[in-house]
């Protein structure tokens, strides 16, 4: 028997999910459900949209309206959904590959438009679904099946990029920082505008193994050790640690509101 919160928010007949033992994605998916439960939102009015990837498989488990789309394009489908029915809470669940590799353009344009969609990026620094290739967030020098000699790419800072592109709420939490994850996700959902929560995840199966970083537990510990909870990214830079916090939270004209105003002219 699952807990009440799971029973209320998931299609329990589809659980347990397909993710590997100890995969961070399961933890993050829980946080989203709990955020929605805590906010007491009408589940009929929630639409989860995802792309393709391990992370993007999340959509199928939520007992809301859910759309599992094509690789990288979740935000564009979500834009169609939101504009067609602005009353919906549209939440995009995506991976680092889905959101920032093939989907990078849609991410920055959604940020720019400041359309009221909440985007949760499960960032495990790897392409999990296809078996461990490097992603735009794989740290330099790390190994991956397509970087057998170490990655020479520089990683994106998803939060910095999103903020520069125009997102109005930007935060980072992780599969370790579950309380922050819960609280930022709630704020993001209630934020009227485009919000991005980078949710640092872990892939023991590919990322962990390739980089000899130990077990699922070890990977979560690593997140804990390598991060610092602060909203001040400059302060984090001094410590060379990854900041966990809310880095941007401003109010600017929201896209569907602006469109509504336009339509009301006639």
């Amino acid at each position: 028997m699952p807990s009440q919160i799971i029973a209320n928010n998931f299609r329990t007949n589809r659980l347990p999910h397909i993710w590997c033992p100890g995969c961070g994605h399961g933890i993050l998916m829980h946080s989203i459900a709990r955020a929605i439960e805590d906010l007491n939102l009408d589940k009929d009015n929630i639409c989860i949209v995802s792309g393709i990837g391990c992370s993007s498989r999340a959509s199928g488990y939520f007992d809301y309206n859910t759309i599992h789309t094509t690789h990288g394009r979740a935000l564009t489908f979500a834009t169609g959904v939101k504009l067609a029915n602005p009353n919906l809470h549209v939440i995009v669940i995506t991976g680092d590959g889905d959101a920032t590799a093939i989907g990078g353009n849609h991410l920055i344009h959604s940020c720019r438009r400041n359309i009221d969609i909440t985007t949760i990026v499960f960032n495990n620094n790897i392409y999990g679904m296809t078996g461990g290739q490097y992603s735009p967030t794989t740290p330099t020098d790390d190994k991956a099946t397509t970087a057998p000699y170490g990655n020479i790419d520089k990683p994106f800072d998803i939060c910095e990029l999103s903020a520069a592109a125009g997102a109005t709420f930007v935060a980072r939490a992780s599969a370790y920082h579950v309380n922050q994850m819960l609280s930022y996700t709630k704020k993001a959902i209630m934020h009227n505008g485009f919000s991005v929560v980078e949710a640092v995840s872990s892939c023991p199966t590919y990322y962990g193994r390739k980089n000899k970083k130990g077990s699922a537990v070890d990977l979560i510990k690593l997140i804990k050790e390598n991060s610092i909870v602060t909203n001040d990214t400059n302060k984090a830079k001094e410590t060379d640690k990854m900041p966990i916090g809310i880095f941007k939270d401003v109010t600017l004209p929201e896209y569907t509101n602006e469109y509504k105003k336009l339509v009301e002219k006639f």
Partner: protein, 63 residues
Amino acid sequence: MGRKLEIEESWCKKCGICIEFCPKKVLNMNNESVYIENESECTLCGLCELRCPDYAIYIAENI
């Protein structure tokens, strides 16, 4: 009505996360699943529930 730590063994994938991050070291693992070793220590903080990737451990409410 009270609150109680519950485990759904059939859902546990034995990753060990709940054990590691339990502040009170309440949990342990056997061949089948995780199990509650020191129930008396448990403060019902719910961190294991929040961190279990498979929703196999949780605080049951209104028991």
